[in-house]
Each structure stands twice: as structure tokens, then as C-alpha cells.
Amino acid sequence: MRLEGKTALVTGGRGGIGRAICERFEREGAKVFAADLSAGGSLERGEAPPSGFLRLDVTSEASVKAAFDRVAEESGALDILVNAAGVEIEKTIEDTSLDEWNQIFAVNVTGTFLVSKYALPLLRQSKAAGGASVINFGSYDGFIADPGLAAYCATKGAVHALTKAMACDHGPEGIRVNAICPGYVDTPMLQSFFEGEGSGGDGGTIESLQQAVRDVHPMRTYGTPEDMANLVNWLASDEARYAAGQLWVLDGGLSAQVQQMKL
């Protein structure tokens, strides 16, 4: 139980990765607010919402304010904030409409900004020995590009820079800010990406595409939401009290190698 006595809020808390983070935090003893647009989140399994479910639209200032009013009322302080809410648009810039561009920035970038902004007063009240911890979701796509994900790549680059800026500004207040940068993780978002590529690609099946992606990883697999939760849990704990301002790539070694030519 490495998060006993801590209060955490996870945006995108009912999505693929967010859900695994919430479950892990609860097992580690934290009180968890799983914030998402709907109780089903991106999974829509139709199960009853967990006790800590908090309806939140990260793009709406009013919704964000209301969410933190409830956290303040129930907990008085926040020790851990995970900005995991995110969306993807599988298009080049030419095919991306201005509305789509604005929408993905609204969730991935403005959402991280708004939620962090209104979390700060509560994060300052944290009594955690290792400081309060903010964990943003960047991506390995914020460093190198996947084809047909232009706006997504740009939002993740913005999250990386915002992470460093927040770490500089709020480190002296006892708030650590880091970003975790996943590579390929087995989530509904990834499945949707595969389905899009599989139907429009060179005629291969989705299964052959998935295997090709696994094979290019030095670990010969893509990640699970639980792999991400393992690192998020470490960063959230007092163990990581000297970790700040960093972009933590967790990608099974994918970006440690150059392009894998078919030689």
C-alpha cells in the first residue's frame, strides 16, 4: 500500500489506461476520483459507476471548477493528479478540419491546462512527504511521428513542453510535474487505430498488422494499461520525490531503435 492516505484524481478515468490507473491507485490505498465524460468512459461496458466517479468534461471550465469544488468538499486537498483524458484523430493535416484540430487541442492540451490550473490550490494543500504529484500523458508520438496522426502528435508535443514549464513554476511549491509517454498500449484507442489502418492499408488483416507492430518492439509485445499504471504508481508515490520535469517514455524499447528497414 504505497499511496495510503492520499487523494487522487484521474481524468479519462474510465478509459483504457485511466481505468487501470484508478484500479491500481485504489489497491495502493488511495482515495480515487475517476473523472470522465461518462461512467462507461471509452469502454462502455455498462457496469455500475464506481463510488469515486466524477462527471467531468476537461474542455469546460465550468465542469472543471465544479469537479474540484466536489474534491475540495470531500477531501480538502489533492495529492495526485493524472491528466489521462485524451483523444486521437487519424488524419494528416490536409484532411483535418479546423473544428477537428480545435477539438483535439481542447481535450489533450486545453484539458491538461484547465484541470491542472484548478487543481493547483488543492495540490498546494497536500501533506505528502514526497510532494504532490502531477502526471500528464504525453506520448512517444510527441517525439517522433506516426503517419496520419498529425494533430495528435502536435498535441503531445505541447503536453511535453507544458510539463516542463509546470515543473519549473510549481516545483518550488512542492508540486512535482512529470509526463508519461506511452508507446503502443493495448487500449480501445489502439484497436480503433488498427481497424482504421487495417481497412485502408495494403490489404493485410488487422491480426497481421498487430503482429507486425509487436515484432518491431525489442520486447516483442506492445504494452498493457497495467504497464502504464506501474510507472504512474511509482511517480505518484513518495518514492519519486526527486523526479520532476521529466518525460518518461514507456514503450518496450520501440523508440530506442532507428527505423527497422526490411533488409
Partner: protein
């Protein structure tokens, strides 16, 4: 408060694992070795010369020089298998390229570069599936510290070798590097003392750390324990910087704006 990273029990996330830490008699290496022991690992330490009197009995000691191929081969022969290798042994020489002698090159690159290569070559065959190699790189391997030419270059070598081992020897063996920032060891105190005003130098350095303090060996050990554990099963080929936020900020003088 700074020492509360000490785990409470020996139950441990590394129970049953065999670990080897080079240069583990003091500083960061010793912090890692103590933490691994506290997490239930069986820990061996290497260093040059005889077993130090003050070394706790729970550590095995192997007198060995990582820069000597024969010594490393003999060391590896003493192990049936290994789960965790920490390449921590290293030296720092405060010189520019112009001041550096051939002997300096041999000593520094021998330990920091050749030593890491020799240890990996000897011990990767000893590791079965799930092995974890942790190299100690440095923030100086990515951006340059003035007057530390060969040290900076040697750490860049460590970063490159880390990626290569991850790519060539995954999925059986994972390999990552930890890049410490300013950790309070004898090396850091010597750096402050070298200038005209140690107190002013220390205050300036502190102002460059969003965390408001310098690091401690326990901070690095906390990361090493995670990377060594099965929790990090998807982490490989990466550099993990632990520097209290220092390299997230621009290197301009604090208070300039």
C-alpha cells in the same frame, strides 16, 4: 524527511533476485545496494581492492576492476546466474580536452565506457528471461557540464550502449540507464569547494532545482528498485532522468527574468 525512502520490511519487490552492483561501496552504488537488499535481493558488490571493513555482512564482496577484461571474466565465472546488473562504477576527471592526458583517457574511459561494455558482455549470458541491466548514465551525457569533457562523452557512450543492448537482447533482457542530476556525494562537495565561494555556488545551484534541494543516493535507488522489479517489464532502452527538475529548466541564470 529526506530519508523516509527506507522500506520498512525485507519482504520485498526483489525477493529471490540476484543482483550485482559495481562500485557499490559508497555513494549512489551503495544506496542502490542497500535498497536492493531491503527489497529482498541477494546483493553482491564489486570494487577495487580488499573488502572494506565497514561493508555490512549482508553483502557479498568481489574485489575486481571493471576495466580489466581478465578480472571481469574471473568475476563472471563466480556467478551461476544473475537477475540484476547495475553498472555504477565510474570516475570523473575535471578537465577539458586540452588538459586531458592519455593516462586520464585510459582511466576514465576504462571504467566508464570499457567497464560497462565488459560487464555487459560477461553477464548477459548469465541472465535468463526477465533480466534487468541498469546503467548509471548522467544528465552530462546529454548536455555538457563545463570542464568535464571525457566524463560527458563517456556517459553519452553509456546512453548509446544502453539502447543497443535493449534492442539486441530484448525481450529476454531489459536495459535502461538512470541519469542522475546533482546527487550529494563526495563528488558534488568537491565541485563546490573548487570555486572561490562554496556557499554562493551552492545557493546558485539550489536555485536551479525546482525540487528545492539536491538529490540523494536514496532518490536514485528508488528508481533503480523500480527498474529492477518486474513492474518495469515494459521499460527498456530508455534514459530515466532523476534530477529534481533541473534539466527541465533552461540553463539561464536564476532570477534573470
Amino acid at each position: 524527511m529526506l530519508n523516509d525512502g527506507e522500506p520498512v520490511s525485507r519482504g520485498g519487490r526483489l525477493a529471490g533476485k540476484r543482483a550485482l552492483v559495481t562500485g557499490g561501496r559508497q555513494g549512489i552504488g551503495h544506496g542502490i545496494a542497500e535498497r536492493f537488499h531491503a527489497e529482498g535481493a541477494q546483493v553482491a558488490i564489486t570494487g577495487r581492492g580488499q573488502r572494506p571493513d565497514e561493508l555490512p555482512n549482508h553483502f557479498q564482496w568481489y574485489g575486481s576492476d571493471v576495466s580489466d577484461p581478465g578480472a571481469v571474466q574471473a568475476l563472471a565465472a563466480a556467478f551461476d546466474g544473475l537477475d540484476i546488473l547495475v553498472n555504477n562504477a565510474g570516475v570523473q576527471i575535471e578537465k577539458t580536452v586540452l588538459d586531458t592526458t592519455d593516462a586520464d583517457w585510459d582511466r576514465l574511459m576504462g571504467a566508464n565506457a570499457k567497464g560497462v561494455f565488459l560487464m555487459c558482455r560477461a553477464f548477459i549470458p548469465k541472465m535468463s528471461h526477465g533480466g534487468s541491466i541498469i546503467n548509471i548514465g548522467s544528465i552530462s551525457g546529454t548536455t555538457a557540464d563545463p570542464g568535464l569533457a571525457l566524463y560527458n562523452a563517456s556517459k553519452a557512450f553509456v546512453h548509446g550502449l544502453t539502447r543497443s543492448i535493449a534492442v539486441d537482447h530484448g525481450p529476454a533482457v531489459r536495459c535502461n540507464a538512470i541519469c542522475p542530476g546533482w546527487i550529494m556525494t563526495g563528488m558534488a562537495d568537491a565541485a563546490f569547494a573548487a570555486g572561490g565561494s562554496p556557499e554562493a555556488a551552492k545557493a546558485d545551484a539550489l536555485a536551479r532545482h525546482p525540487a528545492g534541494r539536491f538529490g540523494e543516493p536514496a532518490d536514485i535507488a528508488a528508481m533503480a528498485a523500480w527498474l529492477a522489479s518486474d513492474e518495469a517489464a515494459f521499460a527498456t532502452g530508455q534514459l530515466f532522468t532523476i534530477d529534481g527538475g533541473m534539466t527541465a529548466a533552461s540553463p539561464l541564470n536564476p532570477g534573470l527574468f
